[in-house]
């Protein structure tokens, strides 16, 4: 069967309304980068820039004075730094998932979301990379963690999960960036062709890498995109699995569990979708892109959040079960302490946000309500931050020897570094919206009714055996 056609029998409807044409898509998406920015954009950008300033000041202070500017201590040697790192990395998961995995699974609805999600991924990974960089005591020797040949023969410790992290995250960042850029090429060409002034022509022309939309270009593009999608699909699983190894391979009760890799991946997808949802709802509202980012898209995303949220909830309960079932008193204590100890408020915030709030999406009325989904997506963002906080701080603050138990209290610099990273993210995101096509125009066009040459043979699965998978893009 042709992948782009709705299956009427199971109630599928077209992904875009009937009045949307190819020209409409180009106009709607390109005008955002061509016209003056609306007041809303300036407000978001202004606030984001302010928080970016907060980040610069906080990081400057931190590097000048030392890690003691944060609230980290012994036993909580890691706290908000790694919480923020894992949170951002998790958010950065939706991009690859939407771009690569959904692409391979022929989920056409991804077309209006993927550009957005990929950009978000890039920016989230930039924010994430900030933390392992600044959290080290001597940032000026950070390069020692890289395998750089040197005359002393000193290599990094390949047994260390932190080193695996370096490789996993940098690979992920590189592939995501490539993937994003390759996907942008045809749209850059559209912007170049529409450009009315020289600067735009030159800049977009350079970025478009000479794209002319020839058959050969399309064939190469399709092949490259498919390869990159295939490359990045395992990364969706590997990056957060490796991040979870930081914890899972340690000896700390509460960290040392085999459930972590799948649990972290589910959580990452969950938080990534929540963030995409949050951003989409805002952009859709600000730029009036309701015909391209339709309610159907949002509803599908909400369903994924419902699934991953429940997976995460399952992981939470399984951790408790294993803690009890293992008979390990240290493990047991960690979980009792999570639910009843001094950080119980964080634990129950996490459960409420991550497990309870997505359950609203069982009802169609709620999962198609913009205010409800916006509120839930924000709650999930909060809840997932607390999940990482709970995993890191409540594990560390009370471990084996009660003599060393302590509490973590954040400082102003902690708060500055966190809110500042949001500033960095939104600054980058605002710039992206302002200057780049936030929706993959050519991909949406491919999903338009009638865009496919095989459209009329929708019910004849054997009509075009030669086109195979690539046929979908030949619009």
């Amino acid at each position: 069967m042709s992948a782009d056609s709705p299956i009427a029998e199971i109630g599928e409807t077209p992904l875009v309304p009937a009045h949307v044409t190819a020209a409409f898509v180009s106009d709607e998406v390109s005008r955002v980068t061509e016209q003056k920015a609306p007041v809303g954009w300036w407000m978001v950008f202004g606030v984001a820039l302010m928080f970016l300033g907060v980040l610069l000041v906080s990081v400057g202070y931190l590097v000048w004075n030392g890690i003691g500017s944060w609230g980290n201590n012994s036993p909580a040697a890691w706290a908000w730094d790694i919480t923020n790192f894992v949170w951002w990395i998790g958010i950065g998961h939706a991009g690859t998932l939407i771009s690569a995995v959904l692409f391979l699974f022929r989920q056409k609805w991804r077309t209006s979301v993927n550009r957005f999600a990929e950009a978000m991924t890039i920016f989230a990974v930039i924010c994430a990379l900030l933390y392992p960089t600044i959290h080290v005591g001597r940032i000026w020797f950070l390069y020692w963690a890289l395998p750089i040949p040197n005359q002393m023969g000193m290599w990094p410790n390949f047994k260390s999960p932190l080193l695996w992290d370096v490789f996993a995250v940098s690979t992920y960042f590189t592939v995501s960036l490539l993937f994003w850029f390759v996907g942008l090429i045809p749209d850059f060409a559209t912007l170049r062709d529409r450009a009315k002034n020289v600067v735009r022509k030159k800049v977009y022309g350079a970025l478009a890498l000479g794209w002319r939309g020839s058959n050969r270009h399309w064939r190469h593009y399709e092949r490259a995109y498919l390869i990159l999608a295939a490359l990045s699909t395992p990364l969706v699983l590997s990056v957060h699995s490796v991040v979870s190894f930081d914890f899972a391979t340690s000896v700390m009760p509460g960290w040392h569990t085999t459930i972590f890799p799948p649990y972290f991946v589910a959580g990452a997808v969950f938080s990534g979708f929540a963030m995409v949802s949050t951003l989409m709802i805002i952009c859709r509202q600000v730029y009036g892109l309701k015909d391209i980012m339709t309610m159907k898209h949002l509803e599908l995303m909400n369903k994924i959040m419902l699934v991953t949220g429940s997976l995460v909830g399952y992981a939470y309960s399984m951790e408790f079960f294993i803690a009890w079932y293992s008979g390990n008193e240290y493990e047991r204590y960690v979980f009792i302490n999570r639910a009843t100890g001094p950080y119980a408020w964080a634990y129950w915030t996490m459960v409420t946000c991550n497990v309870v709030s997505p359950q609203l999406f069982w009802w169609k009325r709620l999962r198609t309500s913009i205010p409800v989904m916006f509120a839930v997506s924000i709650l999930i963002n909060i809840g997932m931050w607390f999940e990482r906080f709970v995993i890191i701080v409540t594990t560390l603050h009370r471990d084996y020897l009660p003599s060393s138990w302590g509490m973590f209290h954040p400082t102003l610099v902690d708060i500055g570094c966190y809110t500042g990273s949001l500033g960095l993210f939104f600054t980058l995101f605002s710039l992206f919206i302002r200057w780049l096509p936030m929706i993959a125009m050519f991909e949406v066009k491919a999903a338009l009714p009638g865009a496919q040459p095989s459209h009329h043979a929708a019910h004849d699965e054997h009509a075009e055996p030669a086109h195979g998978a690539l046929a979908v893009k030949e619009a």
Binding site: N65, G66, I67, G68, S69, G71, N72, N73, S74, P75, A76, A77, W78, P132, H135, V136, G137, R138, F141, L142, W144, A145, M154, W155, P156, N157, K159, S160, P161, L162, L163, V166, D246, T249, S250, V251, M252, E329, Y330, Y333, L396, R398, D399, Y400, L401, P402, S403, S404, W405, G406, M407, H409
Partner: protein, 1003 residues
């Protein structure tokens, strides 16, 4: 190093350069040489090299510009290494020299050996040849090295607050002496602290002989006055009391913290531990009963502890005596009627019956001791009891007291203060001490000082008293001057200077000698005269004395088992009045010497300020210690500010709810809340001296508590008291142990699983390991300071401690055991890096900064560490410390001199931890190599914590050598690995604690 370290003053006040102790010892010859060198210097200084001409100016400007440019791009400071122009004998750069000396500590001399590098002392150890030290020291001795380098010690004499010179002072003394000699010294008073120095005693006598109208007063806030007074009552003469805990099977401690704050604690702790050291389940051990108001270190180690307000201890002592007489027929003669019919409220019956039968069953092998706080009558009764129980001459002996004047401690200062107030004192010389701060409050010593014509204060710091006196002279540190000390055992030590006074300064004996009109009043001459007077003649004998640190012969006459004057003792006991029972409205406060500040004299030491209190684990502050049930009754929580008041005097202090504190009794430790201690000590803690009066300097009832409604933040290094039922500091009773001697099976089995990585081969070479015996460790914290001194561990301050950033490499965890908050048992557990063979910290370091040495050490390369802190997270023992901030920034020059040159001073951003004193291992190996050995002797490497430990609870050595002490200890059945189930295979092992409860006490 500053050249100041090599300077000394001649009598004319001129700076003098000396090259060796021998040379320095002869200041006259030195003076000649100094004159000669002055001539040379003058010729040089007039050399045109140093006159500023145009060419020189341009040259210098160019050089400076170049240097400024260099400064800008070089991260490390430029240091110039200057060779010796004239190499002093013995001094090799980097090779330490060790000198024997001694320190005075609360009425006892503690023998020391000081390590110096190029004339710069860096570390203090105990002198193994000295009987009160036996190679160990206490935490105050360890902190002595920091005190020496305290940059806030007085730098110069002041006269009426204006800087003066010693020459000015000498001129003043000369005229004053001439004046005094005319009237026989009338109006001259000297206030000194109790002394152990024979030279001091000699000079005091010389002064009084020369100026018969003068008077010498003796005062220290914490003294042995009541013990001396009790010997006067019981034996008719003041004597020293010398306990031998090693021979005692049963010890009853009546408000006596003999392991910590009583005199001779190092020796007592060693002896007590030796009677408790269990090689195997067939061994025997002593039993300690403690009856006390505060939860002392001694009480923490007791097999049975009864918390009783200080005022009720006398009642308990009498009731116990009565029980011994009536139930066991112990003969107390005329004392018997004086102890009969004492009320026993608050004293459980078995605490009399079982304790008495235990004592009676161990006659000649038991020991009753009382603390310095208790009245003389109690001590006298204790002497009588020890006599009657056959302990005198066996577990307790008496000796001639060197300074009997200490007996009059409080009376003496009271007499002085009243004379001062009456204007009878013309000249007052205060030798050490800080009476304006620590004299009993009712004497208003500070006010009385204003009525003294001329007051001279000789003290280490420009402290409270210094501000009120006419003259203030810097008092040289014990490591800077010549002196001598006699231990209570009669062993005699000469204190030798490790370096010339850093900022000038004189010792007590020098000032006293000057006043006594001694022509040769320099410390060296005075001490040599004393030595000669004691029959140690000749250069060789003198050198041997200095070398060994203790004289061959002893000087205190041993008096053996003295007859007790029953009648006098009974008379003293009858004078004891039973105070009304305590309640929430009639509270008692007990003044105790602080484990760290003592009486306040150590208040500016950052090491001591930051050291956690052994019991409360509070740093940088003291607190009013209140028992949980009393606190509940008063509605107080830890951290609440309260006002304690009695008779118009009041003290505002923070509350600490202290398990084990006696009901209705509040513990107050002295020495805190100083106003002029120095920038470190000022404002830390709360001054409790205002409540202390001559009438009741030790404890007093009738104190009212008022809650002030505000709280005060306290910084603890350990906030959780319970082991949460985990098998950490494992203990057992003696009978349990005998039944089932295999400790690892008690609860912490070794896991059986395949190793993650290829395991290192640990079967060859030296393999270092440590054992910590929880049975003998008494939690005194000396090891924590010793480690800090040895390993350049920084101090972080109160706020950083509260944030959980304490840097101590070696810590003593203190857990409370038992359900009742009022009567917990204590388990101490010293924890440093466990040097795991399968170290969890090593796998996770991304840059391999921490890794294993072939000798089983978990090494850390500070230079390689980038500070991810992952290793800290993954350490199950939480022993790794991180330099969260630059704790070593801007260290004053003198404090830099303290640093151990063999240990890196760490920059911010790196992780550090216990290294098993790897520098000492390397040193021993290097020595062995020089001696042509390819192997190390057992005991050749001694870690700093092991060396200082008074109870020898820590053993260290090669576990590959089956004959080493550490291997032997590892084979005992009490041996277990902490958190063995994690599978890290720690090299540090613990020997489980054994408690020896009396089965009869259960009733």
């Amino acid at each position: 190093m500053s050249t100041a370290g090599n300077k000394q003053e001649t009598s004319s006040g001129k700076r003098l350069f000396w090259r060796s102790l021998e040379q320095k010892a002869d200041p006259q010859a030195q003076h000649e040489e100094a004159k000669a060198s002055d001539v040379v210097k003058q010729t040089i200084s007039h050399d045109e090299l140093f006159t500023l001409r145009r060419r020189n100016f341009l040259g210098l400007s160019g050089a400076m510009a170049a240097l400024v440019g260099v400064e800008g791009c070089v991260r490390r400071p430029v240091e110039n290494i200057m060779p010796y122009a004239d190499m002093p004998e013995y001094i090799n750069p980097g090779v330490p020299l060790h000198y024997a000396t001694a320190t005075q500590r609360n009425g006892e001399a503690l023998g020391l050996v000081v390590t110096t590098f190029e004339g710069r002392p860096t570390k203090i150890e105990g002198n193994p040849d000295h009987p009160t030290s036996l190679g160990a020291t206490d935490l105050l001795a360890q902190a002595g090295i920091l005190e020496l380098y305290d940059p806030e010690r007085s730098h110069a004499p002041t006269h009426k607050g204006v800087a003066a010179s010693f020459a000015d002072f000498d001129a003043f003394v000369a005229t004053k002496l001439a004046e005094l000699q005319k009237n026989g010294g009338s109006g001259l008073r000297v206030l000194a602290q109790p002394t152990n120095s024979p030279t001091f005693v000699r000079m005091r006598a010389a002064l009084l002989a020369k100026l018969p109208q003068a008077r010498v007063h003796t005062y220290a806030p914490v003294s042995q006055s009541q013990v001396l007074e009790s010997t006067r009552i019981a034996f008719g003469q003041p004597t020293s009391v010398l306990h031998d805990f090693s021979q005692a099977k049963v010890v009853v401690a009546l408000d006596s913290d003999f392991m910590m704050t009583e005199p001779g604690s190092v020796r007592s702790a060693r002896q007590f531990a030796s009677a408790r050291d269990m090689e195997s389940a067939s061994g025997t051990m002593n039993r300690l009963y403690a009856v006390e108001p505060l939860f002392s270190v001694t009480g923490s180690n007791a097999d049975h502890r009864l918390r009783l307000p200080a005022q009720d201890i006398a009642r308990y002592a009498r009731a116990l005596a009565a029980e011994l007489i009536s139930a066991h027929g112990v003969q107390l003669g005329a004392i018997a009627p004086a102890v009969q019919g004492v009320a026993t409220d608050g004293i459980p019956e078995h605490w009399l019956k079982a304790v008495a039968s235990d004592l009676a069953a161990n006659t000649g092998r038991s020991l009753v001791v009382a603390g310095a706080r208790q009245p003389a009558a109690v001590h006298a009764l204790v002497h009588a009891l020890n006599r009657a129980l056959g302990n005198a001459g066996k577990t307790v002996t008496y000796g001639e007291a060197l300074d009997p004047t200490e007996a009059d401690n409080f009376a003496s200062i009271a007499a002085l203060a009243s004379d001062m107030a009456a204007g009878k004192v013309d000249t007052l010389v205060i030798l050490g001490g800080n009476p304006a701060h620590d004299a009993p409050a009712d004497l208003h010593f500070g006010d009385a000082l204003a009525k003294v014509g001329t007051s001279i204060h000789v003290s280490s710091h420009d402290e409270e008293t210094a501000a009120l006196t006419t003259w203030h002279l810097p008092r040289a540190h014990e490591l800077e001057t010549w002196g001598d000390l006699q231990a209570s055992t009669g062993h005699y030590t000469v204190q030798q200077p490790m370096l010339a006074p850093l900022w000038g300064g004189r010792s007590d004996i020098e000032v006293l000698g000057q006043l006594a009109g001694e022509p040769a009043w320099r410390g060296h001459d005075l001490v040599q005269a004393t030595v000669t007077g004691r029959g140690i003649n000749g250069e060789l004998a003198w050198r041997q004395l200095l070398h060994k640190g203790v004289a061959e012969q002893t000087f205190a006459r041993v008096l053996g088992a003295l007859e007790v004057r029953d009648g006098e003792v009974a008379g003293a006991l009858r004078k004891l009045t039973d105070a009304p029972a305590l309640s929430a409205s009639n509270l008692e406060v007990v003044f105790a010497a602080d484990a760290k500040m003592f009486d306040g004299r150590y208040a500016n030491s950052t090491w001591l300020l930051e050291l956690p209190d052994p019991q409360t684990r509070i740093t940088w502050d003291n607190a009013a210690l209140i028992g949980p049930s009393t606190a509940k009754e008063l509605g107080l929580k830890s951290g609440d500010m309260v006002r304690l008041s009695k008779d118009g005097a009041s003290v505002d202090i923070v509350t600490w709810v202290q398990p084990g504190q006696a009901p209705n009794s509040i513990g107050l430790t002295l020495g805190w809340g100083r106003k002029k201690a120095g920038s470190n000590g000022n404002g830390h803690g709360f001054d409790v001296y205002p409540l202390r009066t001559t009438a009741a300097p030790h404890f007093t009832a009738g104190v009212a508590v008022q809650k002030l409604g505000v709280t005060y933040p306290l910084s603890q290094v350990q906030e959780h008291d319970s082991m949460e039922g985990r098998p950490l500091a494992i203990d057992a009773t003696l009978s349990e142990y005998k039944e089932k001697p295999n400790f690892p099976e008690f609860k912490s089995p070794d896991p059986q699983f395949a190793p993650l990585w290829k395991m290192q081969d640990y079967s060859k070479g030296n393999q270092w390991g440590m054992n910590v015996d929880l049975n003998t460790c008494n939690g005194c914290n000396a090891c924590v300071i010793a480690c800090q001194a040895e390993n350049n561990v920084p101090v972080v301050g109160k706020e950083q401690v509260a944030r959980g950033r304490s840097m101590h490499w070696f810590r003593i965890d203190r857990y409370y055991v038992g359900d009742n908050e009022d009567t917990p048992e204590v388990a101490f557990q010293p924890v440093g890096c466990q040097h795991c063979e399968e170290a969890p910290c090593e796998n996770v370091c991304p840059v391999a900064a921490t890794s294993h040495s072939p000798e089983g050490l978990n090494d850390i390369a500070y230079n390689r560490c980038i500070g991810t802190r992952y290793c800290m997270n993954n350490c199950p023992y939480k022993v790794r410390r991180f330099n969260f901030l630059n704790f070593n920034q801007d260290i004053p020059e003198t404090l830099q001199m303290q640093k151990n040159p063999n240990v890196t001073v760490r920059f911010r951003g790196v992780v550090e931890k216990c290294t098993y004193c790897v520098q000492r291992i390397q040193k021993a190996k290097s020595t062995a190599k020089q001696e042509g050995r390819h192997w190390l002797r057992d005991g050749e490497v001694v870690s700093a914590c092991q060396q200082v430990c008074p109870t020898q609870a820590i053993t260290f050595g090669d576990i590959n050598n089956p004959k080493s002490v550490v291997s032997t200890k590892r084979r005992t059945d009490r041996n277990y690995a902490l958190l063995a189930e994690v599978g890290a295979r720690p090299r540090t092992r613990f020997l489980g604690k054994i408690r020896n409860p009396n089965p009869e006490m259960k009733s």
